[in-house]
Symmetry: C2
Subunit: 435 residues, 2 copies
């Protein structure tokens, strides 16, 4: 049985208990949210040593790091290093998007070392295997798809992006929609090509129940992919995007009817003032299903800095109710990220998530900030380092610009804190006790 099915029977699982403990909630509260479909715990029955994570309304905002080989960089060891880097710096989940090298083997290697929930996009593997058979992507069929999904589910994949919302009807209409970027989702592009060539309904949509059979068996959480996510500000919140969101909402109902956990994917490039609308719309059209957003990217012009662009959008989205942020790295739009870009992407997303959680859950989230400010106030550099979101980075910069005083090299002995301490006659070491 899935977490959802058990929650509906008011059965408590170890995963629910663990999530409740981490979130500082009662288990019954978490269970209630799962039963309502407002929270998911992606936890494949075959994923050993999993640290379960709650995603959805009432949970702190989670962030995901994408890793995985590409045709240009099929090196397995590099992707394992990226996975370990992402987890070390705080990623709550990992997605393996491998398309280069031995995809099954890479996934199994990653799963065996990955304590956080692992997601995949099965169509990527279907496409690479179809190509390997010297066929074109448009030649894949539902058996190829179900074969990959079953293999990945058996391995222990906790959640899968399923692009079932792109319909034949939508593909026929999209050419009239004056999109600037067209289809930028990779899975969406494979399916657009497949649908156009075969003039048949999207096999993920057509055979959605067969996919749910497997999902139910292993408790794989469905992450309904947005094949038509906007790839430029120009295309944001347009008819194709919202049209697909309505279909995704219908698919949420079908997952819930089957007892399969489900969340919805969204955004991409969205202007700052359309983000809240996107979040509210998903929560309404998908009946409160957890919302998993990429970015959102609030400008198109900053390749090399899209982790910052995504942090701006992510903070706004999460504060409006998005539950789960997919990171963007500085390599976005330029190439496959390496470990350093993974680290930067993870931290930027964590900052966005935490900034939003301060608003969503001030009681829980602000304690960290208050402790940091106390440490800062008392010029306690050791405590500041320990509390820093990235202590390694703290050291890197502090050691680069050392000061001769006990303050920092920005102001040295002209430090505002030191000066005010002196004039108020305050003994700095007393600060910790004051608060």
């Amino acid at each position: 049985m899935t977490q959802l099915q058990k929650a509906r029977r008011q059965e408590t699982t170890p995963e629910m208990e663990r999530v409740a403990a981490k979130e500082g909630l009662l288990t019954v509260e978490v269970r209630h949210q799962i039963a309502e479909g407002k929270v998911v715990i992606p936890a494949n029955v075959n994923h050993k040593n999993l640290e379960p994570m709650g995603i959805g309304e009432g949970m702190t905002t989670k962030i995901n790091a994408n890793i995985g080989t590409s045709l240009d960089f099929p090196d397995q060891a590099r992707e394992i290093e990226k996975m370990e880097t992402a987890v070390r710096y705080g990623a709550h989940t990992i997605m393996d998007l491998s398309t280069g090298g031995k995809v099954d083997e890479i996934r199994r290697q990653i799963l065996s070392r990955c304590s956080v929930p692992l997601g995949t996009v099965p169509i990527y593997q279907v496409a690479t295997e179809t190509i390997a058979k010297r066929k074109a992507i448009v030649d894949m069929n539902i058996d190829d798809i179900l074969d990959v999904i079953r293999r990945q589910a058996e391995d222990g994949v906790d959640f899968m992006t399923i692009h079932a919302g792109l319909t034949l009807h939508a593909v026929e209409r999209i050419k009239k929609q004056n999109r600037l970027m067209g289809v930028v989702s990779r899975g969406g592009s494979f399916l657009t090509a497949w649908i156009m060539k075969n003039q048949k309904e999207n096999p993920f949509y057509e055979h959605f129940d067969k996919i749910l059979d497997i999902a139910e068996e292993y408790d794989v959480t469905m992450s309904l992919g947005d094949a038509l996510r906007p790839g430029s500000l120009y295309d944001a919140t347009d008819r194709p995007q919202i049209d697909e969101l309505i279909i995704l909402g219908e698919l949420v109902d079908r997952c819930r009817e089957r007892g399969v956990q489900v969340m919805v994917e969204g955004p991409g490039h969205v202007p700052l003032d359309q983000i809240v609308t996107n979040v509210k719309l998903e929560k309404r059209l998908a009946h409160g299903a957890p919302f998993y957003v990429l970015g959102p990217l609030v400008t198109d012009v900053a390749p090399g800095y899209d982790h910052i662009v995504g942090a701006i959008g992510g903070a706004i989205a999460a504060s409006a109710g998005a539950d789960y942020l997919c990171y963007v790295t500085p390599a976005e739009h330029l190439g496959l990220p390496g470990p350093d870009e993974v680290r930067q992407g993870v931290i930027a997303s964590l900052i966005a998530a935490h900034a939003a959680d301060i608003m969503k859950f001030p009681g829980r989230a602000l304690q960290w900030d208050d402790k940091m400010s106390q440490a800062r106030r008392s010029l306690d550099w050791k405590a500041q380092r320990e509390l820093a979101i990235d202590p390694d980075r703290f050291d890197e910069i502090r050691n680069k610009y050392k000061s001769s005083s006990d303050a920092c090299s920005m102001c040295g002995d002209l430090c505002a804190l030191k000066i005010v301490d002196e004039c108020f006659g305050i003994n700095r070491s007393g600060y910790k006790k004051q608060l």
Copy 2:
């Protein structure tokens, strides 16, 4: 006469014309906003070769980069390199906050090479000169202050942070306000010490008219400093901060009465959901004066990444009406930044400003994004590089992760854009002409 005095007489200056041309507005529109006090053009009559900049309502959002020596890093050449780096990457203004080495000489060197408006915080130099005379900061007097302000004005400084809003009355009350961080503004801490020791009114407040005499003579724009800006989320939007903002509003009136251009400084550490309130409050209490905000920083826990934290807050502040963002670098809270941190701080602030301008002025700002998306759509890497906010960074990452295909190494030949092109039978080179 100042730009404000001329605007009131409906006289058009070359600076107004230049600003109007850059903003894509009519000169009469810019002049009207200046006459109303809603826009300033910081342009000291003695600053040669100045590229004037309009700051305020109706103007695109501007960003400032702080540079300047410290006690630990008094090297003049390094600060000139930082100034040049900041201007090269797009800073609209520079502030020289030097407190180490020969402060007059450094400022003059910077001014002679600085084509954008230059600001200072005169109390920093007053403090260093007072200390150099083997006296304490609390020994400075109004003559020392006016001497520095006049010297800087004569040199051509375009705008000055004047901490005239911190009153004797406020200092007496602040101890009861349960602030976590107390006073974190450096100028504010000097004045708190001075006021407590001397038990007299803040000399900048007491003798504000004498400061305005000099400001009027050289057309130095007053940037009213917020001595009590919050240094932690815990202290944000508290009574001391808003109390001071009211005084700053009164001082705005006094500047305007004298025909002196004026803007108001604000934020620091502010939770995401209090930013809009801060901006609306300033616009109301200071009667529409341009709002110049530091950050805002939406969390305290990310030293090493405060440029990202500030970009989140800055984008929200600017989209709510803040006119001018002071950058924050990755070295904030850790040390004096070097050239690389200056570059990162400038770009992060520019991203925030542009993301907000897309909302404020979609007609003007979105053209850049649309061009970038067109270039991306047609896989035109040369055009993408030219349009990138930082073409050097574009090269650094793209060269690091090269692809064997004409797409990027993220997807290689599995590029969504390429696949959809093929299935729609689109010749990619035709894209540029389509839009």
